[in-house]
Symmetry: D2
Subunit: 277 residues, 4 copies
């Protein structure tokens, strides 16, 4: 039987995909494929999976029933380069296995993230996150230039301390969160889908979302069937709570919607936008 080799995945192996201004994602290796998920599920459920004869249908069934363990049998290894403030969110996914460049041992390179003009957004009032409209182009250019100046200054001080012979682990403490770092990162497919569900959400920080979007495309090359299933069942999924299901039942039976006020608003917005609220 040997290794699971996926033709489309082989084509992108080791190829860096650009993200943000200086970052990248590179698929280093992968273990398993759609086929492995099916093998593992057939060990688990044995004859119980015979009725679900086709692999696509079986993977859909596993995804719907939250039988998550067969998806864990697929593992992907990435090499990533990203700003530290994104890496700080990334590392919170505790099921990942990470080997990050250490500023204690290496001298850091002068590479900082500067947001594109169209990504320089004002603070939203209600949700405390970024607004949808960017600031004026002239203002954005000014902000970019100020950020660059701050980064240059911080790096000069760092370089200066290093040259004076100061310990690297101390010299680096004033480097900004926009500094690029890099790491190897390994994740199983089940946790990768949960990662993507959270990080592709419109509430996730824009920079994080840009990485998640590339990860999704890479995962699709390795496991096209499972990824299609994830998109339809998990990513586009909208969940309704007890009260909302009651309301739905009545509406479908031709009765009036018993929800009112903010509860009704949330219900209607979820249906309309297809976003979990």
């Amino acid at each position: 039987m040997a290794h699971c080799i996926v033709k489309e995945a082989e084509k992108i192996l080791d190829k860096p995909f650009k993200v943000l201004d200086k970052g990248f994602i590179r698929l280093v290796d992968y273990l398993g494929s759609d086929e492995r998920i099916v093998q593992a599920a057939r060990v688990s459920y044995g004859k119980g999976t015979d009725s679900v004869s086709k692999d696509e249908a079986l993977i859909d069934y596993l995804m719907r029933q939250q039988h998550t363990s067969p998806f864990e049998q697929v593992v992907l290894t990435f090499h990533l380069k990203m700003p530290i403030f994104v890496a700080r969110q990334w590392v919170r996914h505790r099921m990942g296995r990470m080997n990050e460049l250490s500023g204690r041992f290496s001298v850091m390179q002068e590479e900082f993230y500067v947001p594109a003009k169209e990504d320089i957004d004002p603070q939203k009032k209600d949700r405390l996150e970024r607004a949808l409209e960017p600031v004026e182009p002239a203002e954005a250019a000014k902000i970019q230039s100020d950020l660059k100046k701050g980064q240059k200054k911080a790096y000069e001080s760092y370089k200066d301390l290093i040259e004076k012979g100061l310990a690297r682990e101390i010299a680096r403490i004033n480097l900004p969160l926009s500094l690029y770092t890099e790491f190897y990162w390994q994740m199983d497919l089940n946790n990768l889908f949960r990662f993507l569900k959270l990080r592709l959400d419109p509430h996730a920080q824009l920079e994080m979302r840009k990485y998640a979007e590339i990860i999704l495309e890479i995962v699709r090359k390795v496991c096209p069937v499972a990824t299609a299933s994830f998109e339809n069942i998990m990513l586009k999924q909208v969940a309704f709570n007890g009260e909302e299901i009651d309301a739905l039942r009545r509406v479908l039976a031709g009765e009036a919607n018993p929800l009112t006020g903010p509860k009704l608003d949330r219900f209607l917005t979820k249906v309309k936008t297809g976003h979990q609220m």
Copy 2:
């Protein structure tokens, strides 16, 4: 500020709740409460939580948005006694911390699970699990008596080998999966809710569900607000996939339902029964 002490939880501390014929669940201790969840969330989201002024609303918000980490700050310690075949499913929840009685070190007691007559069910045809109607009472009584005989026999052989001085770890190998075992088990509230979501599901094995039902009631004593939120938002939740949300949008707009065949069936059953399919 000191410990979070919850009056209703104190009342049941150390009290064994009976499960099945010889099992029990005992709350040994707990760390945190609804209040701790709120504290932890306010550290995380800072000013971002001010708009959600009331604790109940904040906990609902965290549950809806899947901000799961504040729920991890609550931990419960249980002492459980259950048949080995249930314990084998229990241990699959890897976030739990367990100390189980070892048959290598201790001589096992003669305590086996015998299902009640009304729980002796035939095999279902389609879902490969238990059917809803039990077998005939006379037949059930016969099965009970056969199970008991098998258990008695197996225990006699075990006892015999122990008395001959055989190593306990070898003497025990023919003891049946219906043997009772016991263990200390510690779980955080976030993972406990995920455990309950899976194990209260009608597809979970009946015996497992009976334990999960008691766990739910104990959790409610420790964290009444979070448990109410869990029940409404997570437990009674029904999730719809991309195609189903499209269908819903159209139906609510007065259009015809585009779903047909098994997809339509599943959609309607989900709305009608309130069960994820």
Copy 3:
């Protein structure tokens, strides 16, 4: 760069290695190799690893310094068949990812573990485990035959309940712990080494140790350098506590050993046997 392909590992891929009377271990797939460990370490420690120029020396350094994360970048997938009482210990290693045959969904086969005559040992008095000398051959043969009878009886009852149409999840509850189960199991190399350290220990149950010994040989095919390093540094390692190190210091300086009584005994036994006590 592509996949890490290890010639010696390719040769054994998918080949079942026999364990006990009816069990096996099969290497299904692997991700990474000695080379990947080195790659990951060089990302982490950067220039800090230049002084350790050769790969063998770098891997030894990582092992000695307990820099465990580069070892996590190697993952092995196994297919295992073993008695349930062994599987119950196996599953306690929570970092493993498992898909086990379910007795709820499948009808179990009539395959039970019967210990070889020479493995039928009496209970030890002091350590409460198995003694080193087996019971008399005639007595062992009698025990074997009794175990087989008990297994046959239990399987007949099971078969009978299945034929009567009883739910599989209930019919199986009197099957013994000596029944063979099987599962897919995936583990990273860091946790696999910790698993081996515990399960190759003379205090581990004999049957478990036999599986661990085969796992060690399979791991050696995939990562020969890391496995050699593990054996010398971790497996044969004996650790001394604060008082013992003090004693050692004095003895090496030509002074008298300050340890007495049971502390002295333990110290000398550790040195003599090379076993942690």
Copy 4:
């Protein structure tokens, strides 16, 4: 039986212990105590623990034998304030549960770490870490003042962007790694001991070590017996590999030490310093 209340721990509950120039550690709550470890072990090993009659001896036995699960039954919750570069190392301990202040939601305060003069060390040549002798006082004062200037500048730019109405999550990207953050952190005692073993090591970064030292003292208040056992058996432990144990055996038997060159040096340094190398 109720909660495990430890008198000495109650006295320090909620009391902030100062660390570095502006950081603190506060014990928020705890679950279990030395007594709980013993309870959990007695459930696991049953009669097997009777020979070890006293609690201290049982805890020592568990520590020596690496029976780690009973230690997991104790959990501590901390509130910590520390510079981001320390928090970045802290979060790598994946068994911890963390709720950290988010710069996406809150406006960060102007609080930065400035190392004390005596902690401003030059880079070591061989180990690529900090040297043992600090730089000259006048030079250190200059570095301090430069670091403060850089921090002031960075905060002014941040404040300016916030006032312009820029999204917080973007405004913060040039804040330095010396910025203070805070979080709730929960860890079980087994993983806390592993954390301390790594982070009290002389190779750990000085700032990290200062936090670890306070954590050790807090843990001692909650579990004095387990902490004493940890210090003697695990913290002061020096492990010898296969070759070194061979050498030791010969030396104790009056033979010549077969080790030579760097291997001999490492062996002698381990004995002399009591440090793992």
